[in-house]
């Protein structure tokens, strides 16, 4: 039987080519770690950039009503550009780099984030805003001390969706060789290497779920008052 002896082909050799292979994971640990870290880095940078752009946009859309439909329209428009197309579109400007992937993914995250920030702020009860104004809160203090904390649950829900889908989308970055685990998936398809393909796919999902859990926990810590109300 092939693969039985210690020196013989392991479960990830061309002869057996198994989907699930512990040997592969131990042997290629460094490669997997590197890809996972790159994946994490690209996702985190993209979501952060998305937040940084989404916040002022959402605030502007709220303040100046004519801008609202334009901003939401453009954000939705970006979403209809296929991820596969956005990368090539950007290459002439930013080259085959990590920057290209981060900016492209940030644009997608932006769509979800702008919407949720707007919806979150809208969900703040009118009475609360009025009483805060009555207490002498200025616009800035009102926003950061009253409105944003109350909007946080909705914003965080948007952040979860944005983060999870960014993890999934990062794999497309393999088109310009910066796709984190997507690079392994792509290589797995091209060389018909099942263990590599499967392990990378599973790691993607694990990463997404882990980030999702972290955001939920962060939300619990940041909005302690929501727990008492629900219980």
């Amino acid at each position: 039987m092939l693969g039985a002896s210690a020196d013989g082909p392991t479960c990830y050799s061309r002869l057996t080519n198994e989907w699930i292979c512990g040997q592969y994971v131990t042997d290629r640990r460094e490669e997997l770690q590197h890809a996972t870290l790159e994946h994490l880095e690209i996702t985190a940078l993209a979501v952060l950039l998305g937040i940084l752009i989404a916040f002022p946009l959402a605030l502007a859309a709220r303040r100046f009503h004519p801008l609202e439909s334009t901003i939401l329209g453009i954000a939705t428009g970006i979403y209809t550009i296929p991820s596969l197309a956005l990368l090539p579109l950007m290459v002439p400007f930013t080259g085959l780099s990590k920057t290209t992937v981060v900016i492209a993914l940030a644009l997608y995250a932006l769509t979800i984030l702008v919407r949720s920030v707007l919806e979150g702020l809208r969900a703040v009860p009118e009475e609360v805003v009025e009483s805060a104004t009555g207490l002498g809160y200025g616009a800035g203090r009102l926003l950061f001390r009253v409105e944003l904390p109350l909007a946080l649950p909705v914003i965080m829900a948007g952040l979860r969706v944005a983060t999870v889908s960014t993890v999934a989308l990062t794999t497309i970055g393999s088109l310009v060789a910066y796709g984190g685990l997507g690079n392994l998936i792509k290589d797995g398809v091209q060389t018909n290497f099942r263990a590599e393909l499967f392990t990378a796919a599973v790691l993607c999902v694990v990463l997404a779920v882990a980030l999702d859990v972290i955001i939920v926990l962060a939300q619990r810590l940041l909005t302690p008052w929501t727990r008492g109300v629900r219980a």
């Binding site: 296929p82 991820s83 090539p88 993890v167 393999s174 796919a201 779920v209």
Partner: protein
């Protein structure tokens, strides 16, 4: 930008549109893929999500399946299907091996928005209306078919609309595993550093996405049972907007507890 003029030249050269590798053929392939994938997702997802919404149970399940679905990269799914032995290596129907894998991956990709929206749509039919239906002696099925379903339809349609555009745009990744569709034009142009061609492909995909969005928006408006009632109302009246919002962010808070 020379790239943009290259793209324009590519788009306006009729030879690029005709023939087996022409954009028209690829466009139809992708359209067929999108519609079939959406149809599969509708047949599987809608009945379950709608009925769960009617029962008012399984919300946790519905929302969480959606969340996990979003975490699975479509590219990884596609890669797994293409590499797997199932369903054989031969050319299958108009889709081909890679096409069939894309079809499966896209159908799964379409499920999350469909399930979330449909579940929430039925769930959020006002309680008074449901009670009124009960009071009129309607059975569960009658209540579902005559009251909940019509009222939920606009929001269900907004889920279908979301899924349609997303599936169409995502269908381009079939090209990463040598599958059919306009993604071919994009990857081809890209790998041969013919960016004009790649951008031309992206423009066509984007334009078709807009057309699909418009068609879906029209269908959504037609599906609204309150359409007539609303038209008679004074403009600027309170509440009720014509286009229902997609449930994306707020729906997720349902499962966040």
């Amino acid at each position: 930008m020379t790239v943009l003029s290259d793209a324009w030249t590519y788009l306006t050269t009729s030879a690029n549109w005709t023939g087996d590798a022409g954009m028209l053929h690829l466009l139809l392939q992708q359209l067929l893929l999108t519609v079939t994938a959406l149809a599969i997702a509708l047949v599987i997802g809608l009945p379950i999500a709608l009925w769960l919404g009617h029962l008012g149970r399984g919300g946790f399940l519905a929302i969480n399946i959606s969340n996990i679905g979003r975490a699975v990269p479509t590219f990884a799914l596609l890669a797994l299907f293409v590499t797997a032995d199932f369903p054989g290596t031969g050319v299958l129907g108009p889709f081909g091996r890679a096409g069939l894998a894309t079809l499966f991956a896209l159908a799964l990709f379409a499920l999350p928005p469909l399930i979330t929206n449909s579940y929430v749509a039925v769930r959020e039919v006002p309680a008074e209306v449901k009670q009124a239906a009960d009071g009129m002696g309607m059975t569960g099925l009658q209540k579902f078919l005559r009251v909940e379903l019509p009222l939920a339809l606009p929001l269900v349609m907004s889920g279908v609309r979301l899924a349609l555009v997303q599936v169409w745009a995502t269908a381009t990744i079939a090209a990463l595993v040598a599958g059919p569709g306009l993604g071919r034009v994009i990857t081809d142009g890209f790998f041969r550093t013919n960016y004009g061609k790649g951008i031309a492909g992206a423009i066509v995909v984007g334009l078709v996405a807009l057309v699909l969005e418009l068609i879906a928006a029209t269908l959504q408006r037609l599906a609204d049972p309150m359409r007539g009632a609303r038209a008679g109302r004074t403009p600027g009246g309170p509440g009720m907007s014509v286009t229902s919002p997609t449930v994306e962010p707020s729906a997720d808070t349902v499962g966040a507890q």
